[in-house]
């Protein structure tokens, strides 16, 4: 799961490393925080995990040989999140990622627009998805990552990023438009 770029974290970093890290990696703190927040679904937990991930990234910084600093950081953030989930909420990781696509009636853009207009409902729908669906959606739609970056961050083959997104989007649509009245009332 861990990327080859992470290298070893044994070096002691000096002021020069610190300045380079500040310039290249620290500007992506918002991206790190946002990804952690959506994988963990909790602001409180994600603050700790984002901080831990950032410091981990710093320890590994000598292993970063240039390139896409955001993707490099987000990969570490993602790994730190999953390690945290395995330890604290292992049940959430038991959902199968390769879930079959269920045939479903096409949703009209209008119906989706109405459902998606509600931020709370959208948040709830996203949070209902298994983390591996949620992360590709967040990386693509909120972070604007390319397929190549998503592949690097999530360690899934680049050829399957498209189908992963297709499945994730279908699941989200289903959650948004097929929420039962019971679920809808629970939102209040």
């Amino acid at each position: 799961m861990s990327g080859s770029d992470q290298g070893k974290g044994s070096d002691v970093l000096d002021a020069q490393d610190r300045a380079r890290f500040e310039q290249l990696v620290l500007p992506h703190l918002d991206a790190a925080f946002n990804l952690a927040r959506w994988i963990l679904k909790s602001r409180a937990d994600c603050e700790d995990v984002a901080q831990e991930a950032m410091l981990r990234a710093y320890r590994f910084f000598r292993g970063f040989h240039g390139g896409d600093a955001r993707a490099w950081l987000l990969q570490i953030v993602r790994n730190t999140c999953y390690t945290w989930l395995e330890k604290n909420r292992p049940v959430e990781l038991m959902t199968e990622f390769d879930e079959e696509l269920h045939p479903q009636p096409s949703t009209s853009p209008e119906a989706l627009a109405i459902a998606g207009d509600n931020r709370e409902r959208l948040t709830r729908a996203l949070e209902t998805l298994p983390p591996r669906f949620r992360e590709v959606l967040v990386l693509r739609e909120l972070e604007g990552c390319s397929y190549k970056e998503i592949a690097a961050i999530t360690a899934i083959p680049i050829g399957t990023v498209m189908s992963a997104l297709a499945r994730a989007r279908q699941r989200l649509q289903r959650e948004l438009t097929h929420a039962s009245p019971q679920e809808a009332s629970r939102e209040l």
């Binding site: 002691v12 002021a15 703190l29 950032m54 998606g116």
Partner: protein
């Protein structure tokens, strides 16, 4: 939903990840496939909802501060030796040293003011440690008190009592001049099973005291008392019972 494109190419198209040929092919397909047209509209609507709803959560300001502090802590200061464990040990040792100097030089004498010794525990131990360095133990090396005692004559303004207690297990090794609390003092050196004991002697006008309870610092013990116009302090790394035994012998 039966069109295969909705599962794959549609998303590549939506995300701008298809190459020119693939995109053109999909656009041609769109003209004839209502299902894909509807699905694309739905996906675009969903995307716009996701991007417009303010779901992106930026890091709080406090987190940035905490992380910067963490980064600083993990960064070696400029010019520092790049061995962190070693560095922290050194830092801890210096703090300990400063604290113990403060303790010995300031707090201890204040606490011991009842005993009002004219020197501090730190000075006693320093003098003892210094004496153990090569060539510092004795100015006059003799097991004979009749050699040691006259040696002090003329060098000090007082005559220290010099006795050998070889029979009791404390052999006189010799004597030397030392300075404690700014005063010249006599140091009598005894050996006890390969350990050395320094007995510092200087005149005092204070009344006699019993042998005070032992002091213990840095692995060294000392016993302090006053007797017949002389102030005594015996210090060593021997056990306190040995030290007390010698103190009693000297006290008689």
């Amino acid at each position: 939903m039966s069109c295969d494109f909705t599962r794959t190419a549609l998303h590549g198209y939506l995300d701008g990840e298809l190459d020119a040929t693939g995109a053109a092919e999909f656009e041609r397909h769109l003209e004839s496939c209502r299902e894909c047209t509807t699905a694309l509209g739905a996906e675009e609507s969903l995307r716009s909802s996701l991007q417009r709803s303010g779901l992106y959560e930026s890091a709080p300001v406090g987190l940035r501060k905490k992380i910067r502090a963490g980064l600083d802590a993990a960064t070696a200061p400029p010019g520092a030796i790049r061995i962190p464990a070693w560095r922290w040990l050194a830092v801890a040792a210096s703090i300990l040293l400063v604290a113990s100097v403060f303790w010995f030089a300031w707090l201890r004498p204040a606490r011991d003011s009842a005993a009002s010794a004219p020197f501090t525990a730190a000075e006693i131990i320093d003098a003892h440690v210094r004496s153990l360095q090569p060539g510092h133990l004795t100015d006059v090396a003799s097991t004979d008190n009749h050699t040691v005692k006259p040696w002090f004559d003329g060098k000090l303004a007082f005559v220290p009592p010099v006795k050998d207690f070889a029979d009791e297990g404390f052999s006189l090794v010799g004597g030397r001049l030392d300075v404690l609390g700014g005063q010249n003092v006599a140091a009598l050196v005894y050996s006890r099973r390969k350990h050395f004991i320094n007995v510092f002697v200087l005149p005092t006008r204070e009344p006699d005291t019993p042998i005070h309870p032992p002091g213990l610092r840095q692995g060294y013990q000392w016993r302090h008392w006053r007797r017949q116009g002389m102030e005594y302090c015996a210090v060593s790394d021997v056990s306190d019972s040995d030290l007390y035994e010698l103190a009693q012998l000297l006290y008689q």
